[in-house]
C-alpha cells in the first residue's frame, strides 16, 4: 500500500517537473492590441478613427452604394431632391441623422423611404412589405429628435429632401449591417447568382434585376412536395401556397408586372428563360409551413438576343422568349 502510494507520488512529481509553464506579455509597440482589433473587428466600427470613415458631399440627385458620411449643404434652395441607397443583397441600410440644420416649420423636410419609389411605383410592393405605405416614409421633422436612426427592411432605401434656406445642411451616416435572410433585393449588377431561402415564414420575397436578362433556375426546393402531392384544382400554380414566379415589366413594382412563368414543382436541372423587359423579378411566395429555396443565375441579354425576342414574341408587354 505504502509502495503504491509512493509510486503515485513519484509519478505526480515527475509530471509536475516535466510540465513547464510559459509566461508571455504583449510588447507595447505603435499598434496597440486594442487599436488593431478595432480595425479588424467589424462590430467595433463605431470606434474607428475618423480618417477611416469615408466622407463626401451629398448631391441633390445621388446614388450611394458605399458606407460613410454624406453631407448635403444647400448653396441655393433645393425643393426636390432624392438620394438612393443600395447595398449588397445580404445587407440592409442603416441611416443615421447627424448635425441636421433645416427649418421644418419653413417647409423643409428629410424623409427616408423604406424601399425605392420611382414614377409612383414602389419596391418592394405593398404585398411584399410588412409595413403599410405611409409608415414606410419616416420624416425627420416628425420624429427626428426621437428616432435618429432608420433601418431599412431590404438592401435598398432612399431619402427625399427639401431645403429652402441657403446654408441649411444635414449629414447622413450610412452603414450596411448584414441581413441573414434577405428578402426583397434589387441587384446592383446585370449578371450574377443568388439563392433565396424563406425559412418557414409566411411572406413573399422578390429579387429584382433592372435589366433584360436570361434567368437560369438551377434548383428549386419547395418543402411540401417532399411529403405529399399538392391537389391541383386550378391550372398553373394558383392553388399552391408555395411557388416561384418569374415576372417581367417596365416599372418598379412587382405587383404591377406581368407573370411570365410560375414554378411549383421541385427540380434540379437548369430551366432558363429570356425576359426582355426593363425589370425582371424572381418572386417566391411562401405559406410559412415549409422551408423554401430557389437558386438561380442571370446574365444580361445582348442587343441581338433582344432583337430576336422582339421579332419572335407575340405578346407586347415586354418581350419574352
Amino acid at each position: 500500500m505504502g509502495g503504491t502510494f509512493r509510486e503515485q507520488l513519484f509519478f505526480v512529481m515527475l509530471c509536475l517537473s516535466v510540465l513547464k509553464g510559459h509566461a508571455r506579455y504583449m510588447e507595447e509597440n505603435e499598434i496597440t492590441p486594442e487599436g488593431l482589433f478595432s480595425l479588424l473587428n467589424s462590430e467595433l466600427k463605431r470606434e474607428i478613427p475618423e480618417e477611416f470613415i469615408y466622407s463626401r458631399p451629398l448631391r441633390c440627385l445621388d446614388m450611394v452604394a458605399a458606407e460613410g458620411q454624406f453631407t448635403f449643404t444647400a448653396d441655393r434652395p433645393h425643393l426636390s431632391c432624392a438620394a438612393f441607397f443600395i447595398a449588397e443583397p445580404n445587407q440592409v441600410i442603416n441611416v443615421e441623422y447627424d448635425s441636421v440644420d433645416i427649418d421644418c416649420r419653413g417647409g423643409d423636410f428629410i424623409k427616408v423611404f423604406d424601399g425605392w419609389v420611382m414614377k409612383g411605383e414602389k419596391f418592394p410592393s405593398s404585398q411584399d412589405h410588412a409595413l403599410p405605405l405611409m409608415e414606410r416614409y419616416i420624416d425627420y421633422c416628425d420624429s427626428g429628435t426621437v428616432r435618429r436612426t432608420v433601418r431599412s427592411s431590404q438592401n435598398v432605401a432612399m431619402v427625399f429632401f427639401r431645403v429652402h434656406t441657403v446654408g441649411s445642411s444635414f449629414t447622413l451616416t450610412v452603414r450596411k449591417p448584414i441581413n441573414p435572410f434577405p428578402c426583397n433585393i434589387i441587384s446592383q449588377t446585370p449578371e450574377g447568382s443568388f439563392t433565396m431561402v424563406i425559412p418557414q415564414q409566411h411572406r413573399n420575397c422578390s429579387f429584382s434585376i433592372i435589366y433584360p436578362v436570361e434567368i437560369k433556375i438551377a434548383e428549386l426546393s419547395l418543402g411540401h412536395l417532399n411529403d405529399f402531392p399538392i391537389k391541383k384544382s386550378m391550372p398553373g400554380c394558383a392553388g399552391a401556397g408555395d411557388f416561384v414566379e418569374l415576372l417581367g415589366g417596365n416599372g418598379m413594382d412587382p405587383s404591377k408586372m406581368f407573370p411570365v412563368a410560375d414554378l411549383c414543382y421541385n427540380f434540379n436541372g437548369p430551366a432558363q428563360m429570356k425576359i426582355g423587359c426593363d425589370n425582371t423579378v424572381v418572386r417566391m411566395v411562401s405559406s410559412g409551413r415549409f422551408v423554401n429555396r430557389v437558386a438561380f443565375q442571370y446574365r444580361l441579354l445582348d442587343r441581338q438576343e433582344l432583337q430576336r425576342i422582339k421579332v419572335n414574341s407575340v405578346e407586347d408587354f415586354c418581350f419574352t422568349g
Binding site: A65, R76, Q188, A261
Partner: protein
C-alpha cells in the same frame, strides 16, 4: 333513341372534350385584357396624352444628360417642385435654355441644365416619388458601385498601412 344511352353518349362527349390543364406553362395573358393591364395601359396613355409634350422634352433632356455624364456628376440639378408634372411651357423654357450639345463643356458656370427629374405628387395619393428612367438609374448604380469599390480599396490600403507599421 332511348334516354339512358343518350345520356351516356352526351356524358362521353362532354368528358372527352375536357382538356386537362398542363403543368407550369406561362400563365394565360388573356385574363389581363379585361382588368388590370388594359386599365393600366389606358391610364398611362391618358397621362401621356396630358403630358405628351412635357414627357418628350423630359426625355430629350435625359438623353442630353446621358451624352454628357460629366454634367451629371458635377452639377446638382434644381427642380421646381410642383403638385402636377411640369407643364409643357415650363419644360419648353428649360429645353430652350439648354446649351447646344457640342459647345458646352463646363458644368460649373450656373448653367442652364436643370430639371431632368421632376417630382410628381398626385393629388389623390400623397406618395412622394421621382421620375427617372431605368437607363439613368442603371448608370447611377454603376457609378455608385465604382465609387464604393474605390472607397473599399482605399480603406484596405489604409488598414494595411496601419498593420504594416
Amino acid at each position: 333513341m332511348k334516354p339512358v344511352p343518350l345520356i351516356l353518349l352526351l356524358a362521353t362527349v362532354l368528358l372527352s372534350s375536357h382538356i386537362p390543364p398542363s403543368v407550369c406553362r406561362p400563365r394565360d395573358l388573356a385574363m389581363f385584357d379585361g382588368h388590370g393591364y388594359k386599365s393600366q395601359l389606358d391610364e398611362v396613355l391618358l397621362k401621356a396624352g396630358d403630358n405628351a409634350i412635357s414627357y418628350l422634352i423630359g426625355e430629350k433632356i435625359l438623353r442630353y444628360l446621358q451624352r454628357n455624364p460629366r454634367l451629371q456628376a458635377g452639377l446638382p440639378p434644381q427642380f421646381p417642385f410642383e403638385v402636377t408634372p411640369l407643364g409643357s411651357r415650363g419644360l419648353g423654357h428649360l429645353a430652350r435654355s439648354l446649351p447646344p450639345l457640342e459647345e458646352q463643356r463646363a458644368p460649373e458656370e450656373g448653367n442652364s441644365l436643370e430639371e431632368f427629374v421632376e417630382l410628381t405628387k398626385r393629388n389623390d395619393d400623397p406618395t412622394i416619388s421621382i421620375d427617372l428612367t431605368f437607363h439613368l438609374l442603371r448608370n447611377m448604380i454603376e457609378m455608385a458601385r465604382i465609387e464604393s469599390q474605390k472607397e473599399q480599396a482605399e480603406l484596405n490600403r489604409k488598414y494595411l498601412d496601419e498593420v504594416g507599421k
